[in-house]
Symmetry: C2
Subunit: 168 residues, 2 copies
């Protein structure tokens, strides 16, 4: 396969994966471009590569900065801002997981916790079923949350040597 085609296919694949997991396609594509770029890129470089508007490029670059998946890089003697991606994939995964946990999972956990305690006739089948499910979910999500935290705070080698020894 030729480089240009491979690049196109990677950008497309990364974008598709993004949308499937609730991440804006363009944001994922900008990330893809920066992941494989050997040099810092400017907003204009990105606009051109993806054929998108300045506004769109700017917004998605901003989001990627907030997720700390990319960094600003200033080139001496140049007024433009350039961007580079965090290239260590473990670090990338760690940051994505940390962010999504904080934004999406923790609020759910807080709510589940509240929903376990409801008023009403405890002999009612409906209320029993509800309370039992809230208990299960709270416990499950809590455990997952904790495990994922532990996992992402370990480094690659430690994690996998242990995990494989354990579960193989």
């Amino acid at each position: 396969m030729e480089f240009t085609e491979a690049k196109r296919q990677f950008i497309q694949t990364w974008g598709k994966l993004g949308t499937e997991w609730g991440i804006n396609r363009t944001m994922a594509q900008v990330h893809a471009i920066l992941l494989i770029s050997s040099a810092p890129l400017s907003t204009e470089d990105i606009m051109e590569e993806l054929s998108i508007s300045r506004g769109n490029a700017n917004m998605n670059i901003r989001d990627l900065l907030n997720w700390t998946l990319i960094y600003k890089e200033l080139v001496p003697g140049d007024r433009k801002e350039y961007f580079v991606a965090e290239k260590d994939i473990w670090e990338v995964a760690r940051r994505i997981i940390r962010e999504r946990k904080k934004r999406e999972v923790e609020p759910v956990l807080r709510i589940l916790h509240q929903l376990k305690e409801i008023d009403g006739d405890t002999s009612s089948k409906e209320i029993q079923a509800f309370t039992s499910m809230m208990g299960q979910l709270d416990s499950f999500v809590g455990k997952m949350d904790k495990s994922v935290s532990l996992l992402i705070n370990e480094n690659e080698n430690k994690l996998f040597s242990l995990l494989f020894k354990l579960l193989k």
Copy 2:
């Protein structure tokens, strides 16, 4: 908190979590209703609970059946179909992970694998950066994929007693 309010809030929360992770809000809400229901529900029950159309209810129930997150249940002497959710949360998680892995992760893995081998000048910085990133991603996604497979094929107690012993 009162039961009706708690129920409303759970359905809403589950739907929101769904959309954030790329799952149709209504599908997640139908799932929520069935998760907390003590009795099998018909399409009409679901339509009424969520104020949605028959077509919408039917489509989302069908999808949930395909994910095997819910089952058909036939009530003797009744022509309608009723539905119940898989209530074991570990089993639910296992099925969701298995399905998403199959549908979304494995295709990406196949593509990354191909993209590692591209033609062209191997001394080019661009091509080196690309190839190196494809290698990292392929290895990372592959490892994650394998770990998750191992994890979801273990049962709750085994997994957690081991995991906590290991990583604490």
